[in-house]
């Protein structure tokens, strides 16, 4: 059932012109960022004629950091569309009247947004992979960066799904998911100004585990952290959708 819901959502999203417009805008922005990062790299004259030393760290690391940040701000729109908008358009009735559990609905929709995320990550990875034409990449750091970006964004999508399941107004849903996402980032910023609590605050931030991944470190603690965030918010979402 989860698969059927996910494939249906994926089909609807891909049939929507807005999706293609957003993807085009994202690719254009990522192209500009990639070009900018390359120009900085070349200006620093780190490049060596045969091997491009530090290219993964200097270009791919910030490239996926920027990508994660951009998607982070698209999360409210994506998750609101997939859950809250269904309530507003009254199409959620299709699911509620069917003999399926609310957990299946939430997980099906979450799987759909994850598939969209994977497709987006794959499509924006073409630019960094194009560097292979003239240099070599550190595959460990490259794949850790992709994994980190996926896990962080997947956790953010779960936050969005969890909140969106309670909402009945699209604008309010977008705003609250945006605030929730922002508060996870602000926790890390606030940690700089707190003394003994800094460590705890920082450990709740979404971006610091991503930094480990981008620098090539696959930390099990970070994987568990993103997994826990996803699980908690999807459970909250199931509960929210159960409310009649």
């Amino acid at each position: 059932m989860i698969k059927s819901i996910a494939l249906h959502e994926l089909r609807l999203v891909l049939c929507d012109r807005k999706t293609w417009f957003c993807l085009a805008a994202l690719h254009a922005l990522m192209g500009i960022i990639f070009n900018w990062l390359i120009s900085i790299y070349l200006k620093d004259k780190i490049i060596v004629t045969t091997t491009a030393y530090g290219i993964t760290e200097k270009i791919i690391h910030p490239y996926y950091a920027w990508f994660s940040l951009l998607i982070l701000f698209l999360t409210p729109m994506i998750t609101t569309q997939i859950l809250c908008a269904e309530k507003v358009n009254k199409t959620m009735l299709n699911y509620q009247a069917a003999p399926i559990s609310t957990a299946s609905i939430i997980f099906g929709k979450y799987l759909a947004v994850n598939l969209i995320l994977v497709l987006t990550i794959l499509s924006v990875s073409i630019l960094p992979l194009s560097l292979l034409l003239s240099s070599s990449l550190d595959w460990g750091q490259f794949s850790a960066g992709i994994l980190g970006a996926y896990l962080m964004l997947s956790a953010t999508l779960a936050v969005g799904c969890g909140i969106s399941s309670f909402m009945h107004n699209i604008t309010r849903s977008n705003f609250i998911i945006f605030l929730a996402t922002l508060s996870f980032i602000l926790l890390e910023w606030a940690a700089q100004y707190t003394g003994s609590y800094a460590m705890y605050l920082q450990s709740f931030g979404l971006l610091s585990p991503l930094k480990n991944f981008l620098s090539g470190v696959i930390n099990l603690q970070s994987v568990c952290y993103y997994g826990c965030i996803s699980y908690i918010f999807l459970t909250v979402g199931t509960w929210g959708l159960n409310k009649k």
Binding site: C15, N94, Y95, P99, K244
Partner: protein, 239 residues
């Protein structure tokens, strides 16, 4: 012996702190057809939603075939028995008619080998075969309503709950749908219909339930062969 399908006792429903239904008692026998009438905002839709498990009652008892929506396992079993067409068609406008019905069939867990046949049958019954590959947003309001009815009958439900099923339908389709409902009655399907269509839909029902100020009054009328004026007079003069 007649089997009691719906058992409702002292049921009250509050929506947004507003009392919609109060201390409602009702028993429905399997195979009966009921028309629910009442003024706008009287609670017809809420009653239908409660019967489908889409709205939780504030208090009281609701049992369908001895099962309750309060039990999650029984709730899933009950949803298999019920086909529901809402007053606002819950359609995905970018989807085509066929793919929408296929998706609903999957949600209703119709066996894969029956899926295409069930979808085709629903399309045929509601005269939608010609528009089956058209995107839903291109269809007229009446045709969208027929798609809504098609998804309700898709799983061959034992209980069919229809909220204003003829809204937007032309007289010809209205008549053919009423004929289809008569066929369902012959198959002992229980029909619960909120409708103001006194010429085609209401007359095929066994009796009417009139909802006034959150309470229900059963009106046993020989509905057939009555004029609209006679029916209206009898419904709204009955207290």
């Amino acid at each position: 012996m007649q089997e009691e399908l719906f058992y409702i006792q002292s049921l009250s429903v509050n929506v947004n702190s507003r009392l919609i239904l109060q201390h409602l008692d009702l028993k429905v026998i399997r195979g009966e057809s009921i028309a629910i009438v009442g003024n706008n905002g009287s609670g017809k839709t809420t009653l239908l939603k409660v019967m489908c498990g889409l709205v939780n009652p504030t208090q009281g008892i609701l049992r369908i075939a001895g099962m309750s929506f309060a039990n999650s396992t029984q709730a899933l079993q009950l949803k298999r028995l019920i086909g529901y067409a809402a007053d606002t068609p819950p359609l995905y406008h970018n989807d085509t008619v066929r793919s929408y019905l296929r998706f609903i069939a999957e949600l209703k867990q119709i066996a894969k080998h029956q899926l295409t046949a069930r979808v085709n049958l629903s399309l045929e019954v509601l005269d939608l075969t010609q528009v089956s590959n058209a995107p839903i947003y291109t269809l007229s309001k009446g045709t969208q309503q027929r798609v809504n009815l098609a998804q309700a009958i898709l799983s061959n439900p034992e209980i069919l709950v229809l909220d204003e099923p003829t809204t937007g339908l032309d007289p010809e389709h209205c008549q053919s749908f009423a004929q289809y409902l008569i066929q369902l009655q012959a198959q002992n399907i229980t029909l619960i219909i909120a409708s103001h269509e006194y010429t085609t839909i209401v007359p095929i029902c066994d009796y009417m339930l009139k909802i006034t100020n959150g309470t229900v009054q059963k009106i046993m009328l020989p509905l057939a062969n009555k004029t609209i004026r006679e029916l209206n007079d009898q419904i709204y003069s009955a207290t």
